[in-house]
Every structure is written in structure tokens, then in C-alpha cells.
């Protein structure tokens, strides 16, 4: 049955009950009525009008000036009714935007998807979690015909949709790099030219590019202003900064990037991250890089994927489950 048809007798009953004994029970029934009437989109002015007309029936001797007062109440409530309906419609719109964003995030996942390669001798773990829907961090693995494993980790300055759009371009730029083998430095030089030409001047990208050759266990790498990673020396049980000099992508067309090399021993780890990891903000400010090392060390006996997952969970908790920046952490561990 339509609520509008039963609304009047129902409200009449409520009024009569309450006028009789002013019980809490009758008031509670009133609350339930309001829930139903909101559900059926009854506007506040209709309730006022219903109230007035029922009062006139129930109390025919009511002074006129009391009845007139309801006209003012009705007029005032019209504004509230409109505001409420506007609120409903905005909420609906927000819902639409949210689902659109979710679709965009899925599309992004598909566009930027990369498979973590399975290689003998190397244990790889990676996690990338966006702060909002869309991720401005990006990582990419390539395994070439010589079994070399390349890893790129990048971060667009900024987050959200603009950063994500920019990242899609970087991915296609990387895919279209010539097949013949280039060192990390020349790959960054190529990407820099593309970014400089195609991306809004206010947007910059940091990137670390590493290439591991399982033949000689040599890691070559170059960085375009990216947050330095760590190198874990298993023999010394020591973490050092994996730093490399280089300007951000997109600043200057003719930037050169140097190649750095490191021999990777069994048990050693290469830890790459985005600034969302080190810029985890806790109640006491940003976490120190040393604290991050402690967290990694805590799980060092686990597989690379378990380490990154567990470190993320811990840091997420530390920030009360509110990520302020996109978070990406990659670990490459040479198997013992």
C-alpha cells in the first residue's frame, strides 16, 4: 500500500496517543514515523500541513492565531525540504562519481599491469597501494631474452587523477623503447626526452631504473631524482643507501644519467621505494628511514613478497589506516 494513503491515519494515531498521555513510547513511534516518511520522500512542509489539518479536526475550538502560526512554520520548512532534496541529489551524484573513479582505477590497473617475473636465483616482491583511487606510483618489470631482469619504479609529483594519467603515458613510452639493449642511464635519457616533450611543465616524474644480470650477478642502475632505495648486505648484515645522482624526468631535455653498478651476493637485497613509504606520517612526524629499516629487518627471514606485504601492513597501522601518499615498495632478494 502507498505510504501516502496510510500516512494521515497513522500520524493521527500518533498525535492522539501523545496528547492523551505524553508517553515516551508515543514519541518513539513518532521517530519511527519520521524514518518511514523520509524513506517515502515526504517533505517537511507536507508534515507541517498534515499536522495543522489534523489539529483542526481533533481540536475544533483551537484559537485561530495558533493555527495561523503553522503558516509560518510551513513557509520556513519549504526551504529545509528543498535543502534536503538537494542534499539527496548531491549524494546521488557523489555515488556516481565514486563508481566512475572505481572504473577508472580498474582501467588503470589493467593499463599499467606488470607481472612480477619468476627467475631462478632471484626472489622478488612488490606492493603498490594508491592513497586515493588512482595510483601516481608505477613499477614495471621486464625480463629480456638474456634473462636480465629490469625494474623501473616511478613517482609523479602529485597524486590522484592527473598523476595517474601521466603514468599511463610513461608506461607506453617504456613499452615503445627500442628492443636492443640499453643501459639504465640511456633508458632514463630516452624517457626524459619523451616526458619533457609531452607532459605539462608543472609535472615532474622521478624514476629509478635497475637492471640485474643473473649471469654475473651485477646490478646496474640509474636514478632520475628518485627517493633512494636501500641495499642490504647479508654478509655484514648492514643496510646502505642505494643512491644515484640524476635530475627529475621532464626538467631539462639534454639531461645525462650515469650508470652505477653493484655486485649482488647471495642473501643480499635491493629495496626500492616511493616517497609515500618514507613520508608515512605518524603522530610524531615522518618516520625515519632507520625505522623503515627496522621494519624490513624484522621480517628479513621471510620471502620478498611477504616482507613488502608485512611492512605495508605495519606502516598502514602506524598511520591509523590513512595513506597520505601512494605507497610502493619493491624488494629483490638474491636467493642463497
Amino acid at each position: 500500500m502507498d505510504f501516502r494513503d496510510v500516512m494521515e491515519p497513522k500520524y493521527r494515531e500518533l498525535l492522539e496517543n501523545y496528547i492523551k498521555d505524553q508517553s515516551e513510547q508515543a514519541l518513539y513511534a513518532g521517530q519511527k514515523f519520521s524514518r518511514k516518511s523520509i524513506e517515502h520522500k515526504i517533505s517537511p512542509e507536507e508534515i507541517v500541513s498534515l499536522h495543522k489539518s489534523l489539529l483542526m479536526q481533533m481540536q475544533p475550538d483551537l484559537p485561530e492565531n495558533v493555527l495561523y502560526s503553522f503558516d509560518i512554520l510551513l513557509e520556513v520548512m519549504i526551504g529545509y525540504g528543498l535543502a534536503y532534496r538537494e542534499h539527496q541529489s548531491l549524494r546521488h551524484k557523489q555515488e556516481e562519481l565514486r563508481s566512475e573513479m572505481e572504473i577508472a582505477a580498474n582501467v588503470q590497473q589493467t593499463l599499467l599491469g606488470t607481472k612480477i617475473p619468476e627467475v631462478d636465483g632471484l626472489d622478488i616482491g612488490a606492493i603498490s597501494v594508491p592513497a586515493k583511487h588512482m595510483n601516481g606510483d608505477y613499477f614495471h618489470f621486464v625480463q629480456d631474452e638474456n634473462n636480465c631482469i629490469s625494474v623501473a619504479i616511478a613517482d609523479v609529483i602529485g597524486k590522484g587523477i592527473p598523476a595517474a594519467l601521466c603514468m599511463s603515458m610513461i608506461k607506453y613510452a617504456m613499452d615503445s623503447l627500442p628492443e636492443n639493449r640499453m643501459g639504465p642511464g640511456s633508458i632514463l635519457e630516452n624517457l626524459n626526452r619523451i616526458v619533457e616533450q609531452n607532459v605539462d611543465p608543472s609535472m615532474f616524474i622521478t624514476m629509478f631504473y635497475g637492471m640485474f644480470n643473473p649471469e654475473n650477478n651485477l646490478l646496474s642502475y640509474a636514478s632520475a631524482g628518485h627517493e633512494p632505495g636501500f641495499y642490504y648486505d647479508a654478509a655484514k648484515k648492514e643496510f646502505t643507501e642505494l643512491s644515484a645522482k640524476g635530475l627529475l624526468l621532464g626538467v631539462e631535455k639534454r639531461t645525462k644519467y650515469s650508470n652505477y653498478h653493484k655486485e649482488v651476493h647471495p642473501g643480499d637485497m635491493i629495496i626500492l621505494l616511493s616517497d609515500g613509504v618514507t613520508e608515512c606520517r605518524t603522530d610524531d612526524g615522518f618516520i625515519e628511514r632507520e625505522i623503515l629499516i627496522d621494519y624490513i629487518y624484522k621480517y628479513i627471514h621471510l620471502s620478498a613478497q611477504d616482507i613488502v606485504n608485512k611492512v605495508f601492513k605495519d606502516l598502514e597501522k602506524l598511520q591509523h589506516f590513512q595513506l597520505r601518499d601512494d605507497f610502493t615498495l619493491i624488494i629483490l632478494k638474491r636467493k642463497v
Partner: protein
Amino acid sequence: MSIQSCVTIINEWDIVAARQLGRNVAKELGFGTVDQARITTAISELARNIYLYAGKGQICIDKLFDGGKPGVKISAIDSGPGISDIRQVMEDGYSTSGGLGAGLPGVKRLMDQFEIESIPGDGTKIKATKWLR
């Protein structure tokens, strides 16, 4: 068939006159108190827009009889600056967030039919109709 009467809007008192005219017509046609209040609120909003943004204009009230079904039509006509982005002013939250009242989306909600035409530099014509149920 249509019977029209108009109020010129120049100052805030004219808004009251337009409301009064609208209420009288709505009452005459048999609209209930809630719909009377809705129609007058819509008139108020349109008249206030004229007063605030165009400076001068007219609110006209028509009695309509469409196949015996009575209705009231509000026309708001001004030769003010016009609206360059109608989509924006018809968007929820645009006028209310600035505390400007229910705005045009509010008028559209209060009435059954709503039409707007505006030429920047030339003026705005808004027609809103409500039918007796």
C-alpha cells in the same frame, strides 16, 4: 486559454507583491496550502533573482486550463546581463553553497515544468508551471 497578470520587480517590496499575486491565483485554482507555499516560494526565488542580478524585470502569473486541468504558470522576464553558463546555474549546490537560496534547481523541484532561455547581455526568460493534481 490563459489569463495573465504581471508585477514589475524593481525593489524588494515587489517580491512580496508577486508572491501575493501568485498565492491568490493558486488559491483560486484550488491548490492546497502546501502547493500554494511551493508556488510562492518559486515566485520568490525568481523575483529575487531579478531584483539581485537584473535590477528590473517582470513576474507574470497565468492561469492555465489544459483540457480542463487547471495549472499556474510563472514567467520571469528580465533584460539583465543574462546567464552565460546555464548548465552551471542549474547544477545542485552552485547557488546554495554561496548562501544564495534555493536557486533555479530549487524552483525546478517546486514546480512541474521548467524552461529557461537566456542570452548573455540580452536577458533571461524563465517559465515554470505547476498543475493541480
